[in-house]
């Protein structure tokens, strides 16, 4: 029974949020677009005029570009595979009958609440340090040469740190999805003699499909822009420079704003491609 009056009141109530988000989106975006077509070096001459698509071409043809794309894909892909595979296994394990389930859940979810700078530094110093880290002690215990994790196996180390942070998220969402699975269906399949692996492949996994898709998409959005984990561990050295980090260096460290802005536009396009898929799933859910 929405009257004309209440409709305009509703619009008024929505206005602040809409205006703020519109401004937050449009103002910086327009500025990034504007800078991306300029030669702009704040510390070396300032605004040096329009250069067309020069920055876009130079950003892509710089020697750092393709390695950074590869690094980004390796980190995002590696973390996604690890978190989803182990997330599914963990969710199934946590869904079994056991004592102290609530407490185990608390232990498993904990890394998600640790601020990125803390988890990166704790892993870097107390676990991956080649002299004093726990992993070095473990390697020595087995008579192996300790690994200089963040320089010799830098990408794998970052993937490990970030996976540790995001595994709880994947597990929690997949566990929520598993708990909504109709257990009668599984029991019926068991009675009919379907082995556990078949029950998993034909009942559990299809049921988890949508939750896995949501995990993949949301994590991709966040993982594309991980920053602190690289900032405090390697500072972009040893082949850990992601697209996000490369743009950060262009913009703030070398203050080549035009070039960095062109990179920013690429990052925005990349994120939007992922976002479109996520929005479809979320949008479908709204209609229900």
């Amino acid at each position: 029974m929405a009257t004309h009056h209440s409709r305009s009141a509703a619009r008024l109530m929505m206005a602040p949020a809409v205006v703020l988000l519109l401004g937050w989106m449009l103002v910086p975006l327009t500025m990034t677009l504007y800078f991306s077509f300029k030669k702009y070096l704040p510390l070396r001459g300032g605004d040096l005029g329009w250069v067309g698509f020069d920055n876009y071409v130079r950003f892509v043809s710089s020697s750092a570009f393709w390695p950074s794309v590869l690094t980004t894909l390796t980190i995002v892909g590696g973390v996604l595979v690890i978190t989803v595979v182990f997330g599914v296994l963990l969710a199934i394990l946590l869904n079994q009958p056991m004592w102290g389930q609530g407490f185990v859940r608390i232990l498993v979810i904990a890394p998600f609440f640790v601020m990125p700078t803390v988890s990166a530094l704790v892993w870097k110093n107390m676990f991956m340090d080649p002299n004093y880290g726990l992993l070095a002690h473990l390697w020595e215990f087995f008579g192996a040469q300790p690994v200089e994790w963040l320089s010799q196996a830098s990408l794998q180390s970052i993937v490990m740190i970030v996976s540790w942070q995001w595994l709880p998220f994947a597990t929690l969402i997949l566990l929520t999805a598993i708990q909504s699975l109709d257990s009668e269906q599984l029991e019926a399949a068991e009675m009919d003699g379907a082995p556990a692996l078949m029950r998993f492949a034909f009942i559990t996994l299809p049921h988890l499909g949508r939750a896995i898709a949501v995990v993949l998409l949301i994590q991709t959005i966040f993982l594309l822009s991980i920053f602190a984990e690289i900032f405090v561990t390697t500072g972009g050295a040893f082949g850990t420079k992601t697209l996000t980090y490369l743009i950060f260096q262009r913009v703030l460290e070398s203050q080549n704003v035009g070039l960095g802005s062109a990179g920013g536009v690429y990052a925005i396009i990349l994120a939007n491609i992922v976002a479109i898929f996520l929005m479809r799933i979320v949008g479908k859910n709204l209609d229900k």
Binding site: W99, G100, V108, A110, M126, F127, I281
Partner: protein
């Protein structure tokens, strides 16, 4: 017979799940333990697990030497301020979308979500420049606003999801009983909305507390919160494991506790209602 088997299975699952749980939690546990060691014991070879002289000296050293209180205060203001401001803006919006939906409500919700997808690094320089021009670089007020804006879509979505679940029959019944709009809002809707608002606040305090892109890039000495304080330990002279652990433990403890309370809301909040 069947009982014995299921009992054995239960023991097996309990052992497996606890082992995995402890393994995942171990880095946090190790950090907490190390924070109570002396610096020498923290790097002892072989590592000491429990048999060390428990001491609080690292905590007092961190508190005395590093202005820890100011970083903590900045974190509280930035996380708390951005969340409260976000709630103030989002409650009316989510309210009107849930109770007076129009054809465009869905589009507006999805559009709000899409602003969350904007990669921060893509707008880093413009925001940096705007902060300089407005004279708010390295100020708490800038971060309160920025974190409010990046989390606003999540706040609106969470509140919308909660408000949607309030049955509209209750409103109609109140109206039939002659309740005015003000009474309806104050005595019927608000009490029902409070749990949803509370869990939204909780989740957003957590997200803002841990945010580590804008807080690292837009602050220096004055407005730096705990994320930036911890990052300062990455320099070589900061390689004091026990003190790093004490500082880390203090930085994550409040959020760990809040987080454990909010784990249920986390799922629907972070998946925008796509998984409940």
């Amino acid at each position: 017979m069947a009982r014995a088997v299921s009992q054995r299975r239960k023991i097996l699952f309990t052992v497996a799940a606890w082992s995995v749980g402890v393994l995942i939690f171990f880095p946090i546990l190790w950090t907490i333990l190390t924070s109570f060691k002396t610096e020498a014991q923290a790097i002892a070879d072989p590592p000491i697990f429990l048999g060390f002289d428990w001491t609080l000296e690292n905590y007092s050293a961190v508190l005395e030497r590093s202005n820890y209180g100011r970083f903590l205060w900045n974190s509280i203001i930035i996380a708390g301020g951005s969340t409260l401001l976000g709630i103030l803006v989002a409650v009316p919006a989510a309210w009107s979308m849930a109770f007076v939906p129009s054809k465009r409500t869905k589009d507006i919700l999805l559009w709000m979500l899409s602003t969350k997808m904007l990669p921060a690094v893509g707008v880093l320089y413009p925001i940096y420049l705007l902060c300089i021009h407005l004279g708010v670089l390295d100020s708490k007020i800038a971060l309160v606003f920025i974190l409010m804006l990046i989390n606003l879509p999540i706040i609106v979505w969470m509140l919308y999801t909660y408000f949607k679940e309030i049955p509209s029959e209750i409103l109609e019944a109140a109206r039939m009983d002659g309740a005015t709009l003000k009474e309806e809002l104050l005595y019927v809707l608000t009490p029902m909305a409070i749990p949803g608002i509370a869990s939204t606040i909780l989740l957003n305090v957590i997200l803002a507390w841990n945010e580590a892109f804008w807080t690292l890039n837009l602050t220096a000495a004055k407005a730096a919160p705990l994320t930036a304080f911890i990052a300062s330990y990455s320099s070589p002279e900061g390689l004091f494991y026990a003190k790093l652990s004490a500082a880390s433990t203090m930085a994550i403890a409040p959020i760990l506790i809040l987080g454990w309370f909010s784990q249920k809301q986390l799922v629907s909040g972070l998946t925008f209602g796509a998984v409940k």
